[in-house]
Symmetry: C2
Subunit: 191 residues, 2 copies
């Protein structure tokens, strides 16, 4: 997605630890017009799969999923939660996720009420690097017996194992910006 | 907002600790069509204030802010973060928030880059009860010297001190569903 690559080139910052920071339009400040374009692109890529639900993970995934949902005719979103909240349903599907960015182990949760064997799920997220978050969402869908019709990520660092890991599990992955290298002097190259 | 009150009556659950749980359309699963209606209503209420930015707080506020942003011509959103993340900008405005629901003290952060004295900010959030979250967002705007043009909440428990607290600080508050009582047998009454 050309528009997205241009924006990453313009605004992306490379931080120590191989972190691509795109806080000013995706992860802290949101460019909602760009989100809309991202949603439209995911619709183009996945419309033939006819999902009836989008599964994502808080927080940045929510804006992406919402933008896509409009194009799919306002299908519901479920966003997985990362912390144990006292008002969370006790009856949840759970998976572990190790965040390399934050160096934290999360428990990812989805209430059983909101994901069932009848669901055709499109999984969307912001970043695919090691594939930890997406893997946890896949695990949760499998626990629910829900059918995963596809996985989409806004950005993928293709030199990290996440994309292959998800494909090896048998799922289709679509990525809007494929980062093949990031150099210490701030240069970002795309595939 | 009639549609919202009807939905809360239909799907809201009252949990111990005076918690109104509306997980199935606002806080875990998202009814994106309803979000769109909520966004439209906030636009109707605040369009004359001409905000150039929406400030909210992760996670549930994001969907609300994004729905509203479309109606305001895709003005940017900044969502405040609740946890110290290693890839967060060091240069942040911060405020404390005590969550009564979770019984946790959060540090709420916004990167200084994304909120300035030039901004006319509309603050939006999901729940207004004790006013802790909204108060932290107001504090952050004040630190930035940004002008707050209004505060909106999807739901307010009007028998709790939050709404008055925000008004006493001198800010306009608009609420879409005003809950005046919740009983142990599950009955929710609106003003």
């Amino acid at each position: 997605m050309k528009l997205l690559e241009e924006r990453i080139t313009k605004d992306g910052k490379i931080l120590p630890g191989d972190i691509l920071k795109i806080d000013n339009f995706l992860n802290h400040q949101l460019d909602t017009k760009l989100m809309d374009e991202i949603g439209k692109e995911f619709y183009r890529l996945f419309k033939d799969r006819e999902p009836n639900k989008i599964l994502t993970i808080e927080s940045s995934g929510i804006a992406i999923a919402q933008a896509a949902s409009r194009y799919f005719g306002f299908i519901p979103i479920v966003f997985a939660k990362k912390t144990v909240a006292t008002n969370m349903a006790k009856n949840t599907y759970e998976a572990k996720e190790h965040s390399y960015t934050r160096n934290i182990e999360y428990t990812v949760q989805v209430a059983k009420d909101y994901l069932t064997a009848e669901d055709r799920v499109l999984i969307l997220d912001d970043f695919l690097a090691n594939g930890e978050a997406m893997n946890s969402l896949i695990s949760i869908c499998n626990q629910a017996g829900a059918q995963i019709v596809g996985c989409g990520s806004v950005v993928c660092k293709t030199y990290q194992p996440g994309e292959k890991r998800i494909r090896d599990l048998g799922y289709d992955v679509e990525v809007l910006a494929r980062v093949k290298s990031m150099s210490d002097d701030g240069k970002i190259e795309f595939e």
